[in-house]
Amino acid sequence: MIHRKYIIALVLGVALAAFGVGASLYQSRVHSKQEQQASEQSERLVRMHSPVIGPREAPVTIVEFFDPACETCRAFYPVVKDLMKQYPTRVRLVIRYAPFHQGSGEVVKLLESARRQDKYLLVLESLLAAQPQWADHGSPNLALAYSAAEQAGLDMARARADMASPTLEAMLQQDVQDLTALKVDKTPTFFVNGRPLPSFGAKQLAELVAQEVSKAGK
């Protein structure tokens, strides 16, 4: 009986170790691939049309691939905001859109029309606050998203006219092209000065930003 116990422990130990080693090898391979891709195609990370939050000339750029209907993006909004507050002159945030959910594309256009009215952050925060109401993944209720934007003070008549413009559609298409080329398939995906997170998490993001800030400080 004791014999079998050892065999079972050995098998389970080897299986767990193989899984762990395999997982970390695989993740580091994916990570370095993404890093290489981002550095080869750095023009795909930041576009002229992309919204920039924070000082334009900041030495550290966080690029966030963002979906307004994504819960994790919502959860990370305060995290990113805190980082910006921590380094008010050194960090800027560039938002790229990843409309992975149904209806997200329209909400992205709503956000962009808010940018034309200089109400980007107001509307963004209002949309994120109301996200649980409008962003049901099966059947998003965009009327609720519109009313959230209106409550934030958006001029809806102007917004609707702006949303219909082909410029916004072209911008959205460009973002989708870029995220496909960079193999971004989850939101939020962060790049800090072109470097992807070693693994996903708020702590990893804060550490990477701290590293880049101290690099830029020298």
Binding site: L12, A23, Y26
Partner: protein, 138 residues
Amino acid sequence: MKRTSLLLLAAWLTAVVATGCALFIGEVMGMAPCVLCWYQRIAMFPLALVLGMAFYSDDRRGAVYALPLAIAGAAVAGYHSLLAAGLVPRAWVPCAVGVSCADQKLDFFYGIELPWLSLTAFIVIAVSLCLYLRKTAK
């Protein structure tokens, strides 16, 4: 340890490796399992637990209970393999929404389709269990 127990051990090892691979492909590589893959997982995951217990306590009945799971899994994997090989009309594919069941390829397996690996695992388990049951029959 009796030699017949080795058959049980072989079946269990196969189930552990297959379960580990399925979890790796799904959780680490982030490949979403299709409907047919889910049915195969439903058959394979319990095998990794049940056969471990059967081997530990050298319980013949463990093999008796595990065998139907292995056969059911082999049936689904067989159908899935035929589908991947294009021998079953695509119109029968039960997954219209979500992930395609017909083309699931992993490049680092050098073009070997996953359903083939799954089918092999289920067959190895089923055959080992059948031999074990025959040799331990009273």
